[in-house]
């Protein structure tokens, strides 16, 4: 084998290759690394009847061709897992062939895919059950039920309701996006209550690309309550950044003294500041986030807290549409399934059977 062959990905291969083999060999040394590769590989490419041995071979060739890196322990490899795409690239580079094209499913992600597909299946089953009128009952969510009471309090006191979705990386396209969407879902319920009881609502946000959704949601809430003329678009306030948003909320609290503060979404450090500042003005607080790092502060500062999954469920909960709420049941089944896998996995592991761990890292 020629060690100077150029890498197909022009990655400065010999060096990478050497390093890769070193890492691979050292990792293979660890007992817990096992090879997993798509079985499709076999049927699609007759050229490599046995994926495992082919890869082991590749590795050894690679090690030989690139010169054995100092410190690499080369020994017969029983099983190892291709945990790293760059190993694959190195192997490709070495053979001058594109292994990625042969692979269909990306290694290590297969079980995730199964879980995702199962999630869809569970969801489908739950919907079908709901359509037959057998929608699973959802347990009471205290924080969601508290919304009515809180808005009622604002009505009595004649003070506004303050709502904000948190920092959420300032974009719907970030991984925080779904939390912002869930928050806007809950907003739609809060806004219709506000419209119904003529309570002003103040919405502070720093997420520019959510503004159209927020505006439409508020507009629709007022229209559905038959008061489209009562909607004032100026209740939506925008600040171009996280701390800017915090400063504006602090100002809003003291100047307009809302009776209720709701912060639901992708919260970050603003959570504790807004939460405490709202406490100073004696506002009833409902908070929620799936961001683990803010959960302690939601619990510390808010009267009602929705943690983790609850905000996603909450958005379905308020719609009270059995078709939507049944999705929550799908999630529950997934939880139960994975709990079962955990229990079985531990038992099998203790018995020395590694089926589940292999399955999970498939």
């Amino acid at each position: 084998m020629n060690s100077t062959r150029n890498c197909a990905h022009s990655c400065g291969c010999p060096l990478v290759l050497q390093d890769t083999v070193l890492r691979l060999c050292n990792r293979v040394d660890a007992e817990d690394v096992s090879l997993s590769f798509s079985t499709r590989f076999n049927s699609r490419e007759k050229k490599w009847p046995r994926t495992r041995s082919a890869l082991v071979l590749l590795t050894l060739y690679a090690a030989a061709g690139a010169g054995t890196p100092p410190g690499a322990k080369l020994k017969p490899i029983k099983s190892f897992k291709l945990v790293d795409e760059s190993y694959l690239y190195s192997c490709e580079a070495f053979l001058g062939e594109n292994l990625e094209e042969i692979l269909l499913i990306i290694s290590g992600r297969a079980f995730s895919f199964v879980v995702l597909v199962l999630s869809f299946v569970f969801f489908y089953i739950a919907i079908q059950l709901a359509k037959k009128g057998k929608a699973p009952k959802i347990r009471r969510m205290i924080a969601m039920d508290a919304i009515d009471e809180a808005v009622g309090r604002a009505t009595e006191e004649g003070k506004p309701v303050h709502y904000s979705p948190g920092y959420a990386y300032m974009s719907l396209s970030s991984e925080q996006g779904p939390q912002t969407l869930a928050s806007i879902g809950i907003l739609s319920y809060v806004a219709s209550l506000c419209a119904r009881f003529d309570v002003p609502i103040i919405y502070n946000t720093c997420i520019a690309d959510s503004l159209p959704l927020v505006e439409e949601t508020l507009r629709a809430a007022y229209r559905n309550e038959g008061k489209p003329e009562a909607f004032d678009v100026k209740c939506i306030r925008y600040q171009p950044g996280q701390s800017e948003y915090v400063s504006a909320v602090l100002g809003t609290f003291q100047r307009e003294r809302p009776a209720v503060n709701m912060m639901i979404g992708g919260l970050y450090y603003e959570c504790v500041v807004i939460g405490e500042a709202a406490n100073v003005i004696g506002a009833t607080q409902i908070g929620g986030s799936a961001n683990i790092h803010q959960m302690p502060f939601i619990i510390a500062t808010c009267d009602y807290a929705m943690i983790g999954e609850e905000i996603f469920a909450g958005s379905a909960y308020v719609t009270k549409d059995p078709l939507v709420t049944s999705g929550i049941a799908g999630g529950d089944w997934m939880k139960m399934l994975l709990i079962a896998i955990t229990v079985i996995g531990v038992v099998l592991e203790l018995a020395g059977v590694k089926v589940i761990t292999q399955l999970l890292s498939w």
Binding site: Y238, V273, I307, A313
Partner: protein, 210 residues
């Protein structure tokens, strides 16, 4: 035409396709899908950058109304906000190296960002003072775990008793792991369920239930 395009189904369909493509590309090594998904992600970065203008419109709408109505204690600040924004934007577009822009950036923008970030120091103190009260077993567990971490993080804990960092370390590295794992796990389950609802166009809350 516009009646067809107005249909919400089309919009939900686009959302579903774009989301689905990003999922597909993650699990399957299909180069074409990866290329398209990657291009769409670049588009979205561009669209999001355009959204800032909406933010500016939103902010100005509020402040112009304050000025028009001469809101007490507010309208001079609104004029200042809008005027300074226009001035600084013009300078910045002309040359970001220009001294006024540079000075404002460093001494106003950065200083205030730091200051507001640091304001949490005060609020977390009062939050701890209020929340860390042993009202029930749950609150007691919260306190013990929190205080042990405090004594672990500050070297002073070790100075008081050498056992504190060990206990704190246990809580941080072992004790809290199970609970935290759950929070990570269930948030993901909820997110996936919500994502499915969104991609299938069932989550309509955020579209205002029109």
């Amino acid at each position: 035409m516009s009646n067809v395009l107005r249909r919400r189904e089309i919009i939900l369909f686009i959302t579903g396709i774009v989301g689905g493509l990003n999922l597909f590309e993650y699990f399957f090594a299909v180069k074409e899908a990866a290329a398209v998904a990657s291009a769409i992600r670049t588009w979205v970065v561009i669209i999001s950058a355009f959204a800032l203008g909406l933010g500016i419109i939103t902010a100005f709408r509020v402040h112009i109304s304050h000025v028009k109505r001469r809101t007490k204690g507010q309208w001079p600040f609104s004029i200042w906000l809008m005027g300074f924004f226009v001035l600084l934007t013009l300078i910045g577009l002309w040359d970001t190296k220009f001294i006024v822009y540079d000075w404002t950036f460093k001494n106003v923008y950065v200083a205030l960002s730091t200051t507001l970030y640091a304001i949490t120091g005060f609020y977390i103190f009062s939050a701890a003072y209020r929340a860390f009260r042993a009202r029930n077993i749950e609150a007691a567990i919260l306190i013990v775990s929190g205080v042990l971490i405090l004594l672990r993080n500050a070297p002073i804990g070790e100075a008081i008793w050498t056992g504190f960092p060990i206990l704190g370390e246990w809580v941080l590295m072992k004790g809290q792991v199970g609970g935290m794992r759950t929070l990570t796990f269930v948030a993901a389950v909820g997110l996936v369920a919500f994502g499915i609802r969104t991609l299938l166009g069932m989550e309509r809350g955020y579209y205002g239930g029109e």
